[in-house]
Amino acid sequence: MNALIVTPAQAAEIDAINATFRDRRLEPVEAVDGRKVLPASLLTDCAPGGWWFAYAALLNAMERATVELPEDET
């Protein structure tokens, strides 16, 4: 997965922005290596008027990396 790496401080900022919306939310997930990540594809909707524009400054500041997500819990 092409991912954005989310620091604890950035996660807190995301939570604060999430609270201002009722129909959208970003929730960082834990990669296999333990880092919190978001899909890098979110950056395609960060332009003015885009779905995630309110989060754009935060998302654009995040480190990018390829990460592995955990398998299903079966």
Binding site: M1, A19, R22, D23, R24, R25, L26, E27, P28, V29, E30, A31, L38, P39, S41, L42, T44, D45, G49, G50, W51, W52, L69, P70, D72, E73, T74
Partner: protein, 284 residues
């Protein structure tokens, strides 16, 4: 993981005019920044009337046929997140880690392996279930299409699956080949008539019946749609390739549980097919 600051609505399905119900829906779509086409609105009036005739309408707890249309991609997504019925759960569906690229009027919601929808809905009645309309489905392996926001077994029977819809852990559910070629798509439903009597079907046909099931614990937790594991954690969004025309949660028995193919579910399937056609969407 439970949403914070999400206002809930107790919008009971109106027993009266289908037109009034659709006008109310449109007003909520517009209020969310969305749009809906005139064709979809006209078809929705017919759909509500059909569901009233079938006897499902007043048993719906939550119903979203993902209908944003005639606007920009952003407006269409905003419209698609507004349920026609939201007696339980949040006022609108909450898209998590997704965006306009996850919605296409011709298909509905499109999973990409990262996003899912949060409904904040709590099942209101143990004698209930869910319907899931797949416009284009595919084999998924061990994945669940509607999960819980935390560990729990109360809502496990909501998962349409090939081999088990009530496994001790939601993670064992999948949509498979029952129904033959193309059996992945269509209107899947799962419901329980009693604590220990579970039924799963597709397009009005019985797929699985279990009259000696584990009763499980009630109530469940907030329902997610398009999650693939027991807990619906954000790291386990449904894999790419599934296209969802819509979903609904319901309470109360809507069929006799004996006659298969079942005329009630066959009629619901037909009514939804007609409605989705107004959006250019095929429900097999």
């Amino acid at each position: 993981m439970i949403g914070v600051g999400i206002s809930t609505s107790q919008r009971r399905p109106a027993a009266g005019s289908p037109t009034a119900a659709v006008m109310d829906w449109e007003s909520r779509i517009v209020a969310n920044g969305g749009t809906i086409s005139a064709a979809a609105k006209a078809a929705a009036i017919t759909l509500v009337g059909s569901l009233q005739s079938i006897g499902l309408w007043d048993k719906l707890d939550r119903f979203n046929p993902f209908s944003g249309s005639d606007g920009s991609a952003t407006e269409n997504l905003a419209g698609s997140l507004v349920p026609l019925v939201n007696r339980i759960g949040s006022a609108v569906d909450i898209i998590v880690n997704g965006g306009p690229g996850n919605y296409d009027v011709a298909f509905g919601m499109i999973s990409d392996g990262s996003m899912y929808l949060r409904t904040e809905a709590l099942p209101q009645n143990i004698i209930g279930g869910m319907g899931l309309a797949l416009s284009v489905g595919a084999a998924t392996g061990k994945q669940t299409f509607a999960g819980c926001t935390d560990t729990g077994v109360g809502c496990r029977f909501f998962a349409p699956s090939t081999t088990s819809y009530r496994d001790a852990n939601w993670g064992s559910s999948s949509i498979g080949t029952i129904g033959g070629t193309g059996g992945y798509s269509g209107l899947h439903f799962a419901r329980r008539r009693t604590l220990t009597d579970l039924v799963r079907g597709r397009n009005g046909t019985l797929q699985q019946l279990d009259t000696a099931a584990d009763a499980g614990d009630i109530p469940a937790f907030g329902m997610l749609v398009f999650a693939n594991n027991a807990r619906g954690s954000a790291s386990q969004a449904l894999s790419a390739g599934q296209r969802f025309a819509g979903y609904f949660f319901f309470s109360g028995i809507v069929d006799d549980g004996v006659t298969w193919p079942n005329p009630t579910w066959t009629a619901i399937h037909a009514a939804l097919q007609t409605y989705f056609a107004s959006l250019g969407r095929t429900l097999p």
